[in-house]
Amino acid sequence: MKNIITIVKKDLKLEFRKRESLTSMLFFGILVLVILNIAIGIGQNIAPSISGGILWVAVIFAAVLGLDRVFSNEKENRCIDGLLLSPIEPETIFIAKMAVNLIFMIIVELIIIPIFIVLYNSSITLENLPMFIAIVLLLNIGFSAVGTLLSAISSGTRRNDIMLPILLFPILIPLIAATVKATSELLSGSPVEKYSQWLYLTLAFDLIFFGSSYLLFEHVIKEG
């Protein structure tokens, strides 16, 4: 819908003016990759079953930073009221914010993943690239859907920066576990059949949580 694009464009414009979010997301993601590499042992060959997990830890931690910003730029000057006063439905706000977060995540992943491949000597070939992209997108969608809902909740509390990971990570555990499993298999060179059930799980997660978040969002964004 037109309104979704209006809001997405506005948020992207705001972000690209200062680029606070993207820079900190990127930097933090790279930092995590480096630190974990050191923690596991420099020079050691890190097996794909472990490096798969490391990649997603880095992405998740980086992404949470970006998610935070999604509603904090509406808190200033009570701009969120501006959105609620307009004729658009709350669901429109949800989809727009989710889309913005998706875009941020993809931009950050486009840089972090190549760095990961280099640092961890991982094999993502042209052959398994399509499946890899599928894995990434499935994670992004589930993450952004629940994340947008929970970000709206946490930005309404006093300790909002720490509140978001506390609420979000436990819920995401099955999504992350399935994604890590699928990635590890893919990086080990396994055929698709071996990890396809994990992908079905992420798909189920995405559908269930997109639906629930979409429906519940209204109760979180509006006052009594």
């Binding site: 506005k10 701009c79 009221d81 006063l85 307009s86």
Partner: protein, 246 residues
Amino acid sequence: MSKGREMSSSSFLKIEDLKKSYDGVNALNGIDLSLDEGDFLTIFGPNGAGKTTLLKIIATLLKPTSGVVAISDYDLEEHSEEFRNSVSVISHQSLLYNELTAQENLRFYADLYDIEEPAGKVTKLLKLVDLYERRNSKVAEFSRGMQQRLSIARALINEPSLILLDEPYSGLDQHSSLLLKNQLIKLHDDKRTIILVTHNLTFGMESATKVGILVKGKVAYFKQRAEIDDDNFDETYFKYVGGKTL
């Protein structure tokens, strides 16, 4: 259309027995109000009287616990979207994005409200509030008074028939306050219905056609402006709004 209640169709805005309680507090305890089109209602009242709650309900930001709110016989509950299309809010919060320019802010809202020929409308409004020269400056660089002016432009984007103002004078210096007061007079001249909530007795009384005082969620006082004797009103005002009597 309205829910089977008898509504006098000469009233533009009709509020009947409006109640709102939340967080254990009875914010509104039965508000009855009616305004004709083109009225300028100023509402005074002590803090906590429910003035902001009342405005928020009319603006659809809050849902009433019970009671009826209707504009031109369109009931709030069933016509929320129409309400939002015809009502605008100006408060002490600007509802503007600091990092966007004046023009970008207005353009954003124009797109949100689906305005025809948005670019032209934006230009017209910028000129109206005398900010056309600064259209490419970020709102962060504006003074409080300028932000307030831009906020007025924002509120006019959708050609509202009802404008709600929640303490717009707070935080403004004398000069900006005068400018705002004149803006409001201009708005009123354009046949818009206005509800102004303020603590500023002088400015509040100037353009009003009706005056009300809210105390503890009820309308304690309501008169046509023409019927009010200015000399006595000071007393009345302080009786209701002034410090607590123990």
